[in-house]
Amino acid sequence: MARLQLQHVTRRFDNGQEGLSDVSLSIESGSMVFLTGHSGAGKSTLLKMLIGAETPTTGRVLVDGSDVSQLGPKQMPWYRRQVGIVLQDHNLLENRTVYDNVALPLRITHLSAKDIARRVRGALSTVDLSDKGGLFPKHLSTGEQQRVGIARAVVNRPRIILADEPTGNLDPYLSRQVMSLFHQFCDLGSTVLVASHDIDLIKDQGCRILHLSQGALVQDTAASSEVAT
């Protein structure tokens, strides 16, 4: 239901470094795709392009055919509400409880308080944090903070899920649970793109894998086949 495309996207930073160089790819609506590559390969830069937090120096980033970097200040919020994003740093609001953090994307869409409560509780239990709703982020372990971020990304039932190393601070068991959560959303029609360096975890999922290296797309492994190491 949401097709993601990059057309010859290059991102050159102020210091001349190229975060992405001439990347073209297309992700089908409703599919789940992994993005991997060594540290500094450009995974986060690519995900930020898709949410409009980075703009390409050249090339176009298309979602369902419309250019993300052309969205005006009126349209951008509406687009972002369709996207659930998990960033590498947790990005929780320090002076709100876990519950309120997860509720944020619902609050801005004016859902009724009852609906919000039901959904937030559902999302928190999905990441095994039902008993931590009343705590503040600083009272959580790093892995718990990461899971709050995941709950916040999916609470809105987004059409697109972009996750940047969502399992970096999670143990293998929780990592697999998060992956299965993403699979559920994918099955319901969401397009899911997950950046991760955890090759073993990725391989087990049997999804398409995109390999970045120094900003370039060097390998594109189709679903359900083994990755070359």
Binding site: P77, W78, L93, L124
Partner: protein
Amino acid sequence: MAGDTKAEDGRDGESPLAVERPKGGRLQAWFADHGRAASDASLFVSQRLISSFLVWLMVGVALTLPGLLWIAQSNVQAINQQWQGSAGLTVYMKLAASQQLIDDMEIRLNRETGVERVIRTTPDQALQELLEQSDESAFLRDAMAAVGSNPLPASFAVVLNDSSSYLQLDALSRKLSAQTGVDDVVIEMTWLERLRDLSELFNRLGSGLSIMLLIAAVLVAFASVRLAIESRLGELRVLALIGATPAQMRRPFLYFGSAYGIGGGVMAIMLIAVFLNQIEAPLQSLLVSYRAGIEIAGFTPGFLLAILLVGWFLGVAGAMLALFQRGGTDKPPS
């Protein structure tokens, strides 16, 4: 994990891709959003009562000084007017002027525009005053009696009303000098001269002080509001990412600014009231000795409202400035 089933629960059959529509109308949603921002702001302020109090105090003190200056200047103006009111001339009639001429002059003076009051001093009254001024009145009286006639002329003290300018005074003086029976017209200048100097001092002092105090008030209000909301500015990045509109992101800051600004205004009003109360007694006594009994003017409901409005404006402006300094609301987070 425990949540797997619950996640399904939570979804209750809808497609996860169903676009969310606000329940109720746009207006209702707008009100709900404002309500949330307002309660968020009051929670934020009340959770930090001490530092909020400091912000109020700072904004309050910053507003107090221009407020007092304004009151001072409006009072100087009032005093100006009172002094101008007590400015005037004395018309000395010729000794040879007939009683008829003197009576005509009194009527004439009373008809003159700008004249507040005319006080007639007969030669007898003048002599009486002269004798009272001298310590050897008995001798002088004897002397007058010996001469057999009063050497002092009739005169009129002419008090002009508040609105008459120095120029009017001067013109009147020249006109009266030309009248038959008028010996001399003396303008009471001392107060006018002092007044001019004092006014100029106040004006210079005022414009210098005004500029500084206004700068100070604006800077202090901005800085303190900014400081108070600094910790909240980090939220903007997250809010932008999850799709909050610029208006939604601005809203809490407008409420913070309002809370701090209006609180500062209330504080300023309290400070000004205390201050005026303190100086009223000595000021009264000073002004009375200048023959100008006066109430402190300017502490009116309109003034109070203005202080509140200025405080509110500064608070909101400070919050907005902090917001836009932080890169605006629709800048992509990095």
